[in-house]
Symmetry: C2
Subunit: 209 residues, 2 copies
């Protein structure tokens, strides 16, 4: 299969959720046009992205929603439950551990990890907080694949190193620091998102006022 | 000024933070090469992005960090404090309201809003929870510019509509639903980031095993 650009992967995940919602609404068939309207993405872009995986749609008939969901499940690797840990049991880490969206999408939060021994042993949203010393054993025993980093930026690289050493295969990084690892990393950068927003607000005011 | 593509804006925000860190380390001058190494972005990309705003660097000397930070501050609109509200005082909303990164980057969380009257009047990290009924008046009186949406997906569009009606100028959307508005929207989509990660993990395994 040819190499798929990263923005296309993000869009595939968006298509997946859009299709789930269409199915919830009782629909069986959809079109790139309908998805385009809902997502604010061009229909030709949607057709192009889906074409990376072969043709799914029939001209004039559209896409069978169940079939497309099944294929996207395979492609995105969400057909199995992924075990996830959260490193950093601060406010954000605890909120993420209890976040409905993560569970709904087939991810299981197996444990939280922290270095604060006062937190260790307590539970948040039914998930136990464990000490970082236990990370290596836990990841191996439980088959944890993903670590979500919710530690302060000063500890981010260290935490990523420990996760990688423990055998975690991918990192979702909420800390505002670029981390380096030999495994895939996705960054959720709230400060960057806010700055991107203020940039657009300023431009817009310049245009309209 | 020519139109700047959105991914470039996100990178500018990353450069901003990289430069802040270099300054913290006591440096006065940097180069696109040094920034490239830290950020994992190609040096030529960095030079191209910065060239949208005229030439900052001197060949063989590099960029003066203070000057570049000042220019980026103007460009990104972070030279002034932006008043922000959080809509939805659930776990995630409360964590975001207390998130260090947001304050450090010059954003002020003015209030949280919720429809749950049991929460209204209480404080989280020193920030008061107000009722959605007060949104319009508060936004006008306080000059709130940005709303961070941390509501369940079912309420996301409604909350966005109310924010826009109240006079908010931009929305940071944490809910996993595409919302529509006539003001700029940035999406922080945790489920999409996780799926993008699982996609990469699967591909990688296919390649190496």
């Amino acid at each position: 299969m040819q190499k798929i650009p990263k923005p296309a992967v993000k869009r595939l995940a968006m298509y997946y959720r859009c299709l789930e919602r269409l199915r919830e609404e009782g629909k069986e068939v959809t079109s790139s046009k309908e998805m385009a309207q809902r997502l604010g993405i061009k229909a030709c872009q949607i057709r192009k992205d889906l074409s990376y995986f072969g043709e799914f749609g029939k001209r004039g008939i559209g896409y069978n929603i169940d079939n497309l969901l099944e294929r996207l499940k395979e492609i995105l690797g969400v057909e199995k439950a992924w075990k996830v840990i959260v490193i950093g049991a601060g406010n954000l880490g605890k909120a993420i551990a209890g976040h409905r969206v993560i569970k709904e999408q087939g991810f299981e939060i197996a444990a939280l990890f922290d270095i604060d021994r006062r937190k260790v042993g307590t539970k948040v949203h039914g998930v136990e907080i464990k000490h970082m010393d236990e990370l290596g054993d836990f990841v191996k025993k439980e088959g944890v694949k993903i670590a979500i980093l919710c530690v302060p930026k000063e500890s981010a690289q260290n935490a990523a190193d420990e996760a990688e050493k423990a055998g975690v295969q991918g990192i979702l990084n909420f800390s505002p620091r670029v981390i380096k690892a030999n495994i895939p990393i996705e960054n959720v950068d709230i400060a960057v998102a806010l700055k991107s927003l203020t940039f657009q607000i300023i431009r817009r005011k310049g245009k309209h006022e």
